[in-house]
């Protein structure tokens, strides 16, 4: 039995294999029948099939040689304006040989592109529409500039419902000979929401422990794969343990390489959910969070700025006592 990451091994190859996001899939299928596609934006949370849908679309359009007509670019790794000017333009302007007169450019994690790069992209999209169609993939479509949005057909992906999630994981478990208990399955859904990539990775790591996958195995994997979380850090701060909270922050940034911008986004979400912070404080905290967010963009030190924010939480926690 060959081993690879199951998330890749069981990634659907054709639109027909996709079991969820039915409406989107149907619309994409109609593009294939028409042998033509518009520029698209696939927006939605991680692990909901955006990249898969794009790859399937290309596969169904060009057949098995689809890779020759396709370029995948990750905006997170190459997000500058120069990439758009050179790599993207070079690819986009050269006409493809074959039945279908255009190529497909998949721009993954496009919401991480700088504003300038997006402006440059907009012109490229216009000029080379004949020879190249773009599929922009993003978690937040709001981070894509308006002029690009208006040139694209939008597709909104949503988390998988429980049944689809279960069906997908059960199929993998069966094929891999893994004993997946019902409680294990529920635990995976509980922790991963409907994020299928995370769910599949969790299942595979749980399976590597060599016993039936139950609730405990799943939680143990989650604990080992995500040793620090923002919520834990915030709890410490609110309890008044500034030093402990700062240590968690340090670990996140230095040991696990979590980006400051990701941490701040999570803090922003969590603060409003916290029960032990007085309501009026939440909006004051939001002000502090926003300021830090802005400062990080200006090139300030992530740990120093974020720990100043933790101090505000310590104060908020103390106000409740």
């Amino acid at each position: 039995m060959g081993f690879e990451m199951w998330a890749e091994k069981y990634r659907p190859k054709s639109l027909g294999d996709m079991v969820n996001q039915k409406e989107i899939v149907n619309r994409l299928k109609s593009f294939v029948e028409a042998r033509n596609i518009p520029h698209c934006i696939f927006a939605g949370p991680p692990g909901t099939g955006k990249t898969t849908a794009a790859l399937c679309l290309a596969h169904d359009l060009y057949g098995d040689v689809y890779r020759e007509h396709l370029m995948e670019l990750n905006a997170s790794d190459e997000r500058g304006i120069n990439v758009v000017r050179e790599t993207v333009k070079t690819f986009a302007r050269i006409r493809t040989i074959g039945e279908i007169p255009f190529k497909i450019m998949i721009l993954d994690e496009a919401d991480n592109m700088t504003g300038d790069a997006q402006q440059a992209l907009r012109r490229t999209m216009e000029r080379f529409t004949e020879t190249c169609r773009f599929i922009l993939i993003a978690n937040y479509s709001g981070k894509i500039i308006e002029p690009i949005q208006s040139r694209c057909a939008p597709f909104r992906f949503t988390y998988l419902p429980h049944e689809d999630h279960d069906a997908y994981l059960k199929r993998i478990a069966r094929a891999e000979g893994v004993k997946l208990l019902e409680e294990g399955l529920n635990a995976v859904f509980e922790v991963c929401g409907g994020d299928l990539r995370r769910a599949t990775n969790t299942l595979q790591a749980a399976a590597s422990m060599g016993k039936p996958v139950d609730e405990d195995t799943v939680y143990s994997v989650i604990g080992r794969a995500n040793p620090v979380d923002v919520r834990e850090m915030l709890k410490l701060a609110v309890k008044g343990d500034f030093v402990g909270a700062r240590e968690k922050l340090r670990e996140m940034i230095l040991k696990y390489g979590v980006a400051g911008s990701d941490i701040i986004r999570q803090i922003h979400i969590e603060v409003f959910r916290m029960k032990d912070v007085p309501e009026p404080w939440k909006i004051r905290l939001a002000d502090a969070i926003g300021e830090v967010d802005f400062r990080l963009v200006q090139g300030a030190d992530e740990e120093v700025q974020l720990s100043a924010l933790l101090a505000h939480l310590v104060e908020a926690g103390a106000a409740l006592k």
Partner: protein, 424 residues
């Protein structure tokens, strides 16, 4: 601090010749004199006096001046003289008679008692104790810390006399005396500054005075105010206390000059130690906000290369932090902490590089950016590599990982070997 060798050190040249000239500690000096004089009436209950207190405040000088005042023969021994039992016994005989051959009375001084330490000096303290118990002449012991556990037994046979730091006014008087003898006309403010900075250490105050005033006719405040903190090993400690507890912006801002580290490193020291001092939540918030503002200016300097802005970094990281304190009372002794993230950063640098390289391998296979791969897939790989060598071996081939990457993911060398064995 150095001065030309042709000049004698002022601390020696102007050492008090009589007990009355020793700065401060009147009560301690009286007790010492009374005890030595009590030997005239026979051997007292306590045959040794134990003088203790911080360095440079006149313990040794007092004994020397006393011996001279009373015309006694002083036998002075330093730590190096009595490290071992044999060494002590070599001059134990001296202590067995009160009078000397020439009719002078004898006084024995064991100085720098804290100098005897641990293993090498086995028996030294015990031997001294034995000498004290049988002494026929007064013995004086001197140490900075009388309550060192190694000295417990010895202490029992001694009259304890504490020497305290003299107040700055007393030190100024002594400095004036020295200035008068050296023909230096000195401003009161300048001498006060030197005295305060020395924190009661008269010896270091005289040393400073010499360094600043030697060869001058006049010493004014401007000559001394720039003076950096004496290079003690706890310089950083004092600077941080000033930053956390200082009251005047000007004084606190000077911390940057006093610290023997560059401002960026000082920033790290302040950042690391701050929460252990400013414990009141509102004080903490204000102080951390001020540090964050200092950091914001650092960011602006990096972007604009406008180094003039450095002065604002200094304002906020020093005075800004000091002014944040409203409720927190000065804590007692708080240990100094080395900036942990400096240590972590260097430890993590190679790890981050490794994660990035594995991320690039993941990117080639998993339709995901290297950054997201590092975050979302690598942690699961780690679990798999630690648990299942066979599955890991398959992934090694699929992702095209090298040996170093395998070892990183597997966690231990043993597990890495198991994975390698399964793979090839």
């Amino acid at each position: 601090m150095k001065w030309p060798v042709m000049y004698a050190a002022w601390t020696v040249k102007h050492k008090p010749k009589t007990l009355a000239d020793v700065v401060g500690n009147e009560e301690a000096k009286d007790r010492l004199v009374d005890w030595v004089k009590s030997w005239e009436e026979g051997v007292p209950k306590r045959r040794a006096a134990f003088l203790y207190g911080p360095p440079g405040i006149g313990k040794t000088v007092s004994v020397e001046a006393l011996a001279s005042d009373l015309d006694m023969e002083l036998v002075e021994k330093n730590a190096s003289d009595y490290r071992t039992e044999e060494a002590v016994q070599r001059f134990a005989g001296l202590a067995s008679q009160y009078g000397t051959l020439f009719g002078k009375k004898r006084l024995i001084l064991f100085d720098e008692l804290d100098g005897i330490t641990g293993r090498e000096d086995r028996g030294g303290v015990g031997a001294i104790t034995a000498v004290v118990k049988a002494a026929q002449c007064p013995i004086v012991l001197i140490a900075n810390n009388a309550y060192d556990p190694r000295l417990t037994t010895l202490r029992y046979y001694c009259l304890l006399i504490e020497f305290r730091k003299p107040p700055a006014g007393e030190v100024v008087k002594h400095l004036k005396l020295v200035c008068g003898r050296e023909g230096v006309e000195a401003d009161e403010a300048a001498l006060k500054f030197i005295a305060q900075r020395s924190e009661g250490d008269v010896r270091s105050a005289v040393n400073d005075l010499q360094a600043l005033a030697q060869g001058k006719k006049r010493l004014v405040y401007e000559d001394v105010s720039w003076l950096a903190y004496r290079d003690r090993k706890d310089a950083i400690f004092n600077v941080l206390r000033l930053v956390f507890y200082g009251k005047s912006c000007e004084a606190v801002k000077r911390a940057v000059d006093m610290a023997d580290v560059d401002p960026d490193m000082l920033f790290e020291w302040i950042y690391e130690n701050l929460p252990y001092h400013l414990r009141d939540p509102s004080d903490l918030v204000r102080a951390m906000d001020s540090l964050a503002t200092a950091d914001l200016y650092r960011g602006r300097i990096r972007v604009s290369q406008d180094w003039v802005l450095t002065r604002y970094v200094v304002d906020f990281m020093t005075a800004g932090v000091a002014m944040a304190r409203e409720k927190t009372q000065p804590a007692g002794f708080v240990p100094l902490r080395f900036p942990e993230r400096i240590r972590m950063l260097s430890r993590m640098r190679s790890e981050r590089q490794m994660q990035r390289e594995i991320g690039l391998k993941i990117k080639r296979r998993c339709h995901i950016s290297a950054r997201a791969g590092t975050k979302e897939i690598l942690p699961y790989l780690r679990v798999i590599f630690e648990e299942d060598a066979k599955m890991a071996a398959g992934l090694v081939k699929w992702l095209d990982l090298d040996e170093a990457m395998i070892e990183y993911l597997a966690g231990t060398k043993t597990q890495a070997k198991a994975v390698l064995k399964a793979a090839f």
